[in-house]
Amino acid sequence: MSVSRVLPLQAGPRAAGLVQRLSLGILLFVMTALLSGSAFAVERFPPPDFDPGYKMPVPTMPAPRAIYLEYLDVAVLLAALSLSVYLVLRKRSRSWILGLMLFSLAYFGFWRKGCVCAIGSIQDVMLALFDNGYAVPLTVVAFFLLPLVFTLFFGRTFCAAVCPIGAIQDVMLVRPIKVRPWLEHALGIVPFFYLGAAVLFAATGSGFIICQYDPFVSFFRRSGSVNMLAIGAGFLLVGLIVGRPYCRFLCPYGALLRVVSRFSKWNVTLTPEDCIKCQLCDVACPFGAIREPGPALPEGKPAAPSGTGIEEGNAGPSIKKQASAKAMIGWGVLTVLLMVSCGWLGARSSGFLSYENRTVALAERVAAEAAGKAFVSADTVVPSTVRLSASEQREENLRLASQAFRQTGQPVDELYAAARVARNRFKVGGWLLGAFVGLVIGIKLISLSILPDRTIYEPDRANCVACGRCYTHCPREQVRVKRMQRGKTNPAIPA
């Protein structure tokens, strides 16, 4: 028996075992990276505190980024989007898409350090809409609008190969597992909640939570707080086996793109004319974006899921219209009720949410001190060598802020009045946010009740991030490509 014949027999399982061990190794490595996380953290120190003899260096301000460089960013974005459209819809090649993705990861991620970014731009645009004093740079508007416009025409080609956050997750994916559809549906509404909250905080000028809690930016910058590094590492870790967890279950811009993409003129399609239902695309898609066919049409007597108003045995092409008007009205009423009750809860919670607003937080602190509910202490005499926890630090910052405020001698009433204005905005915002949340839940419940009328396996317009993996594995697609190579058919423009 020759050596070459022995090898294949043994190497297979051995390699697999090793690979598994290695996967474990990665986990370990990411964990350890976590521990050493704050090794990257940048801290700032007060200058040495001696007045005589110490010469304070003149602070230097880094020059703003040259304007042409900002335009360069927009140009690169535009080029990458166009190229992505070409690669996804015309070339239909996973390898090329991957190549572009790596470029975007390098450019928008590691080179531009995750800023400027389409996801965060939502907040700039919102703040600009509600605050006349905030001038939003044109580049940021471009980053907000261009991907949306491209999506309206070509599907989520931005997510495919341009977004660095999508890219870093996409390349991390090693061995995808399938998330059960019910879980996918349930977690799929979270990005909308996040979007709503981000808009509320941005519109009230309270903060940019998307940027604050961007889990990957600390990797792009290779510096950040231990907490954010830990959360980012957590996402990457989960991302080894769950395809793009941030994109699917958190990304607020992705939520917008999902909606827009439903109406896109073109999008990823496989071979709708001659799908042989081999389901290989379903196996290939790590993002659960392939939709299964519904009941066979026209034969068979499909029963509808309960509560949809579709009568049992009521078969035939009319299924689409079967959801009886009555049931639909019922769902509509439920949605309105949800909107009102969630809106009410939102308004009730607005006081709590408004603590994110600096004016409100400071006013509350000053008021609490005045009411004797918060401790006003003099500067600690013993210099603190204690590391405070995040919440203690927040309290301590507020204490210092109120101390500083009192030193300004400004009248307290003005502060209170400003806080009341901000709080009223939150009240309105709370109503709107709540109603939006109710609407999202209602629409999700309704959509779950609508029976699919497709007869083949096809990418879901909303959830498909156009990564191109299914192209490689669809046997009919391969046939089409071969045929095309032989020059027998024209390249098909998906319609």
């Binding site: 350890t32 990276a33 061995r175 509350e364 000053v366 008021a367 005045a370 004797g372 509910k373």
Partner: protein, 594 residues
């Protein structure tokens, strides 16, 4: 919840390539781990060298604050500061480099793993058939899941918002001031937010055995001189205490705390300082690591709760003879509890608790001194987790309570045992100096006065120790010592001019603090366990039978008053603004003018 889609590795990739990929992955993985290890080591090193949190630097700054003109300290600070900053800059530079290395290594690792796991052909799944029943179930499941997730998000926001309340006054109420007085009772009663109190806060209260610093000295001079328990004159209130214990009361703002215990039960009590109402009474139970055996104690004196609790105004801390330590917040909620193990102690553990910044200090002396069981332990006051502990102390079981002193060089914890008085760095627990000045069963606690540490024990001597030495200072740093009129149980007291010592049989002696010359001695003809205290220029003594003796502090003996409480007592009193809190065998008394 999920299932693995890809389960088999296709053999279509040439096997040799695949093997190489596996090897590369292993190498890259090893490399990444090594970089991570390096980062981790550097990270922990950097924690020590952090310019913002360096205890050494902080201590130097305190020292400079007390001694503003000292050029040497300034120079030391400059050097240390520079050193720390340089170390930090190095740490950051290393982090940046290692970040790139890690990124590169992770990239190679990922590539190799992906290559090794690459499958050109996917396994063909089984054909799915549409089934109405399954579809219906799926929809129901999905709908419920949506409701659960949405409900959870909404509920958590609502719950959080329920907990927050607004303090903003309504628009109608105009406040003209910038901020109201910070000394209003309400402001004082509010829960403080700094992790530990300032020295001023401590001075205003009576937070531990013998009050601020453990010196038995009150800043209040308006406390009563006499009272009459029979007529009730000068007694503001008197409340029964559920369980006995010789442990002393402590006071923080409007609360008085006590502990009590029996063989099987241990409790903490919180009284309203103004009315004597028992606000709460909490058992210390289900403490992890509690020994099933009861401790050996002096049962007739109630030795199960002999140690006085301590408070930092954030929480109150209690320790019992079985080694259980517990912390409660001011509302009586248990913050944490730990069992330090049954102490090997001939008469039961009596050393009281004290706090230093956000540390709770426990002097846990036990055993013979040769068995390495005695230790000084610092717990994180917020969590109860061990912050540090000293090397085994070379002393057997002892009964004195440590004090924390502030010297120009550092903050020190002074402990007493047989035969050593040992000082530790309060920040780290490292030993600073030790002096062989004690003997036998050490009960009296040390004090700090006029820049000197005083230790005393009957049968040996009273010693005045200069606290600026290192190593064994038994010969080099003793300012003076004397061997007459020594205490056996009660701790000494000083008014910064003289030192007063009280024996259990009532012999009170007075020494000049600078020269060590005995000024006078007086037989009081009473028995004492309670330690003497000073308020203004008056010395307060409480006898075992509850007789309060008030003396004029001075170079001559002068008795001002004697008042009978009518109840036996062992505990030392606690002083507050215009008041004295005294724990008798059965009652807690508040002495003061109506």
């Amino acid at each position: 919840m999920t299932n693995v889609i890809h389960s088999s590795t296709s053999s279509s990739t040439p096997i040799l390539w695949r093997q190489s990929a596996v090897r590369i992955a292993m190498a890259a993985g090893g490399f990444c781990l090594a970089v991570c290890l390096l980062l981790a080591i550097d990270y922990f090193r950097s924690l020590r060298l952090d310019p913002l949190h360096s205890p050494e630097l902080a201590q130097l700054k305190v020292a400079l604050g007390r001694n503003p003109g000292n050029e040497q300290i300034k120079q030391q600070i400059r050097l240390l500061d520079l050193e720390l900053r340089q170390a930090h800059a190095e740490h950051e530079a290393l982090g940046a480099k290692a970040g790139w290395l890690l990124l590169g290594g992770a990239g190679v690792l990922l590539l190799a793993i992906k290559y090794a796991m690459y499958r050109k052909k996917l396994p063909r799944p089984e054909k799915k058939k549409y089934s109405p029943g399954a579809a219906r179930r799926a929809v129901v499941l999905a709908r419920s899941a949506v409701v659960v997730v949405a409900g959870a998000v909404i509920a958590s926001v609502c719950m959080l918002s329920l907990r927050s309340e607004s303090n903003l006054p309504s628009p109608a109420t105009k406040t003209s001031a910038v901020a109201k007085s910070t000394n209003s009772p309400a402001a004082q009663a509010a829960a403080p937010i700094t992790p530990y109190p300032t020295p001023e806060e401590i001075q205003r209260n009576w937070p531990r055995f013998r009050g601020p610093g453990g010196l038995g000295i009150s800043i209040y001079t308006n406390v009563p001189v006499s009272w009459n328990a029979k007529t009730g004159e000068g007694v503001l209130w008197k409340s029964p205490v559920p369980m006995v214990g010789p442990s002393s009361p402590i006071v923080w703002q409007d609360r008085v705390f006590l502990t009590g215990a029996s063989k099987t039960k241990r409790e903490v009590y919180c009284y309203d300082a103004n009315t004597g109402k028992l606000l709460w009474q909490k058992p210390v139970e289900n403490v992890p690591n509690t020994s099933p055996d009861p401790p050996t104690v002096m049962e007739d004196s109630g030795g199960y709760a002999a140690s006085t609790p301590a408070t930092d105004g954030r929480r109150v801390y209690a320790i019992y003879a079985n080694g259980n330590v517990a912390a409660f917040d001011f509302q009586g909620n248990l913050a944490w509890s730990v069992g330090l193990g049954l102490p090997d102690n001939n008469y039961g553990h009596t050393s009281s608790l004290t706090t230093y910044q956000d540390r709770l200090l426990v002097l846990f002396d036990q055993g013979t001194g040769k068995d390495g069981k005695s230790r000084l332990i610092a717990l994180d006051s917020k969590t109860g987790k061990l912050a540090w502990q000293t090397e085994p102390r070379p002393v057997p079981n002892s009964w004195a309570t440590p004090i924390v002193i502030h010297t120009p060089q550092n903050d020190q914890i002074i402990t007493c045992g047989n035969p050593w008085a040992i000082a530790y760095n309060a920040a780290s627990g490292t030993e600073l100096w030790r002096a062989k000045v004690l003997y036998g069963e050490v009960v009296p606690s040390p004090i700090f006065a006029a820049g000197l540490v005083f230790t005393a024990i009957d049968g040996e001597k009273v010693s005045a120790i200069r606290p600026d030495g290192t190593g064994d200072v038994s010969k080099s740093h003793i300012a003076w010592s004397a061997d007459e009129g020594l205490p056996d149980i009660c701790s000494p007291l000083s008014d910064n001019q003289r030192i007063y010592m009280l024996g259990t049989y009532g012999l009170l002696s007075c020494y000049d603090i600078q020269t060590g010359k005995e000024l006078w001695e007086k037989e009081l003809e009473l028995g004492f366990h309670s330690s003497p205290s000073l308020a203004g220029d008056r010395i307060y003594l409480f006898s075992d039978k509850g007789v309060g003796v008030v003396l004029q502090a001075g170079a001559e003996f002068k008795e001002l008053a004697r008042s009978d409480l009518g109840e036996d007592m062992l505990a030392s009193p606690a002083f507050a603004d215009g008041r004295i809190y005294v724990r008798g065998k059965e009652h807690l008394f508040c002495l003061g003018k109506k």
